[in-house]
């Protein structure tokens, strides 16, 4: 694993963190049947913050961020997103989901729609944006992720990296205030990982609030405000990237880092 995700200098000063709270998770617990997946999670994310969540597989990282837009239901504690509490009220859920963008490991693009249709679908049907306006926005974001020429193709005709960038653009079309990334690069080969990370870094430089579950430690080092290490459904350690990587406190973190950075 390389130490840096991108060769150029990143302007960290531009990535301001405001005092406004975007996500507040308090004493959150979740079980799959009797299996306790998330235990007493407490996490506050401020607007503009970029958080990287890492940890061994099965530690509950994905479950944690999937709880934030209620793809998974939590059984105890509260999750507040943009001041709205996540409950089983369907209207709240749909509202939060349209404010929170999400990118998946396997992209989850809609294979029966063209790239442009993938991008305009939610704005047209959820936001009730006029079709023309939605298409203009979609083209804007496609240019931003550097694949405007693919607009009329179908997802199956694109490479993995391109598909993930389309997925990011699809989320951005909803003008989300928070972006969640669930291992966005795990299904890609190294060349493609770089193009996706580029896109994510640009997004970070524009001040987007981001929570990324990823094993890209270079990205964490360069971009994150905070790195959270999870194990066995709990937050084991969280710290600024420099401290986290150079001076990990918990034994579990040290072991994990030595394994992941050791070669």
């Amino acid at each position: 694993m390389s130490d840096t995700a991108i060769d150029r200098e990143i302007n960290r000063d531009a990535m301001k963190v405001s005092d406004e709270v975007a996500i507040q998770i308090t004493d959150m617990n979740k079980w799959y049947g009797t299996f306790h997946v998330l235990r007493d999670i407490n996490l506050t994310v401020n607007r503009g913050e970029r958080i990287v969540v890492c940890g061994p597989s099965g530690s509950g990282k994905s479950t944690l961020i999937r709880c934030i837009n209620r793809l998974e239901e939590h059984q105890a504690g509260t999750i507040m997103v943009d001041g709205t509490e996540l409950s089983s009220d369907l209207k709240n859920i749909d509202k939060i989901r349209s404010e929170v963008g999400m990118c998946f490991q396997h992209f989850n693009l809609f294979p029966h729609l063209t790239i442009l249709e993938n991008l305009t679908l939610a704005p047209i049907w959820v936001r009730k944006t006029p079709k023309k306006e939605a298409e203009e926005t979609a083209m804007h974001y496609l240019e931003k992720v550097k694949i405007p020429e693919q607009a009329d193709k179908y997802p199956g005709q694109l490479s993995g990296g391109q598909q993930q960038r389309v997925a990011i653009a699809r989320s951005l079309c909803m003008k989300p205030r928070i972006m969640l990334f669930d291992e966005p690069t795990s299904a890609l080969d190294p060349e493609m990982i770089k193009e996706v990370l580029d896109t994510m870094i640009e997004l970070a430089e524009e001040g987007m609030t981001m929570i990324c579950v990823t094993h890209e430690m270079g990205f964490a080092r360069q971009v994150a405000n905070r790195v959270i290490f999870m194990d066995a459904g709990q937050i084991v350690e969280q710290n600024e990237p420099e401290e986290f990587f150079n001076n990990p406190q918990s034994e579990r973190t040290q072991l994990f880092l030595s394994q992941i950075l050791g070669h």
């Binding site: 793809l71 369907l90 749909d94 989901r97 989850n108 029966h112 939610a122």
Partner: protein, 791 residues
Amino acid sequence: MSDLHAHTTSYVRKEMLPEQTPPITETGAIKWVRENLFSGWMNILLTVISLFVIYLALSLVLPWAFGGVWNAGSLTECREVLFSFYKGGHGHGGACWAVIEDRWLQIMFGFYPPDQYWRPILAFVLFFVALAPVLFADKVPGQLIWFSLAYPFLAAWLIWGGSFWVPVFAAMGFVLAFIVLKFLGKIAGPIVANLGALVAALVWWGAIMTPLTDGLNKMIGNSRFDSTLSTLEARTAELPAEVAALEAQGADKEAEIAAAVDAKNATLTAMTEIRIEEFVIANEVEAKEDALQRLDAAQDSIEDLSDILATWNGAPSPASDSEKDIAEAEAATSAAETLIGNIGSLLSDAQSGLADDTLEPAELAGTFIVGASQEDPSILGDFDAMVDKAALSNPLNDLIDRAGAVTLNESQGDLASLRADTETVMAALSTNIASLDTIMDKIIATNADDLVEPQAQFLDQMADLASLRDEATTIAQATFRVSSEESDTRGFLAVLQSLNDREAALPILRDETAGALALVPSDYRNMIAVNQLPEDASAEDRAALSTYLGARNIELSTQASVRETYGELGRVGLTPIDSRQIGGFLLALIIGIAGIVLSLPLGILLALGRQSHLFFLNKVCVVFIEVIRGVPLIVWLFTASLLLNYFLPPGSNFDLMLRVIIMVTLFSSAYIAEVIRGGLAALPTGQYEGADSLGLGYWQSMQLIILPQAMKISIPGIVNSFIGLFKDTTLVLFIGLLDPVGLSNAIRADTDWNGVYWELFVFIGLLFFIFCFSMGRYSLHLEKKLQREHR
């Protein structure tokens, strides 16, 4: 390649090789044949066998189908035509397509009135227009979908007729429901909105539509009353003359047909006379083949006898005193004796057959002196070459004597010589028959020229006869139409004349009912029959209730009759057609198309319900699907036709066809639901999550993301179910609806066509095949079109 050295590992190509054409055996048709037909010995064998089987099948079917008869009025006439062209045989000669020519309209439309055929045809043509926005969405303007939505009402009106506002009002129920849904959806939750829409639609159909229709009928009826009355009176005066004129025309036509039949029969007789020599020879051959068969049987019996005697080494005798041996010996003895008797009788039958039923060759030749032998003198020579009768039958006398003398102690040698001699006689007889066959061929050859003219004449006469019969049918239909118009007009006139009286009587009847009701004790006022009264009710109460019920019956029936009269008088639209008149392929199409169109949305809802996390909804769907699927369709159809009546309010007349459509729809939707469930299950969960993460609601994500993909996967299964449903419509035959197969039975019940099977079934099969094959082809086309995304 010369610069490639096998020993060096490092190698650099200096010049690129030019492109070459492939060998001739590896391109085009030759390659295809080599690869697909003759690629190995097994493949070659299969190719040859397949070609042979195809040849066999076609050589049977094609002559039958293309050598068929199209102009004939009955199966007997078909056979006459086939016989006159030497195609008689045992029904293998040629098809009797005349039955299709005669009855195809009936197979298509059942007993739908012929002058109204344009209505179902128009409905059928419009069906494709309505289908276009659904099937070829990218090639037609989007506004056409409104026509598709209106089409069911339009089609029902075209097929069943009646006033045009009935389908309009029925459609307005849906429009109302939609408006209520939109309105309530803004101010209340989705459940309230859906319920509100349902209630609004039911109230509209149940409580508003009928008075509205009645009011319109009455308004228009009243304005038309006088003019209709005078028109009816005028028509009643004219119609008897029209009927009489048509009947006279019909009688003339019948006479013409009878004359044409006589002419045709005369030609047939003339042809028989030309061919009379063939029949003489055919008789002769028949008698001789008969004798030959007997001799063959006798020969077999001798063989059996000699087998028995060989086993027992002479006459069967018990080997010991044991009962078993004695019984065996006795059984063998009696079997042998029976055989001896058989041999004798078979031989003497053959002998007497030859002696009595055949003619001397000279005699035969004598009958030919004037006929065929003049054209082909060699025939007489053939007769001369034949042996005399005596030469065939005399050796048999000797054989009969010898057979009579056969006993159980006969030696094997004697039996063998008896057999050999019998076979000698048989060989002689066979030769004789072969000579006769040769003569027969020669006669047919000489007759062929003579027959050409009468055959052509016969065909012409049959064609004339067919067109005469068509004209007669047209006249008969017109006569039927006019005479039923006559009786209808008379009936309606009488009804109209009494309309005012009946209407005036209504208030009086109402008062009477109310008065009678007042006399009934209040406990009993809701009863609808006297036998509902408790045992201890008094005689006065019984009488009062019975009076009230009688009065109410009269009031209701008068009310209904007035309503009906206004319905008829105020109708602006098409002649109403009763469901019982609809039959044949039209019936199959109506049931099939209605079932297909209705079962798809229902099946989708059921599939979604079965996937739902809502416990009761889920279980209801599961139980519905399993129960419907687990019971044969025919049981559901019987339920529709018989049992459903018990659950409906008494006196309600719920159309049988509608009931069948409902049952077929439910049945098919259970299958569709399972097919679509398979498609839903095949989608990765990522698709649901992708849709969810964008904030799409349940119905939005179903409509935009999940169903389009699930349906694409399920297309082959869905179309398969549809094809099955369409063919299953023939099952309605068992509940008394006249589907094409049911009609084929009805056609066979006509003495003219008694015995026609293949032609009708081939025609019906072809009709179904065309539709099912088109559906299958369309599904393939759709699959290819949607194949753009690869997983």
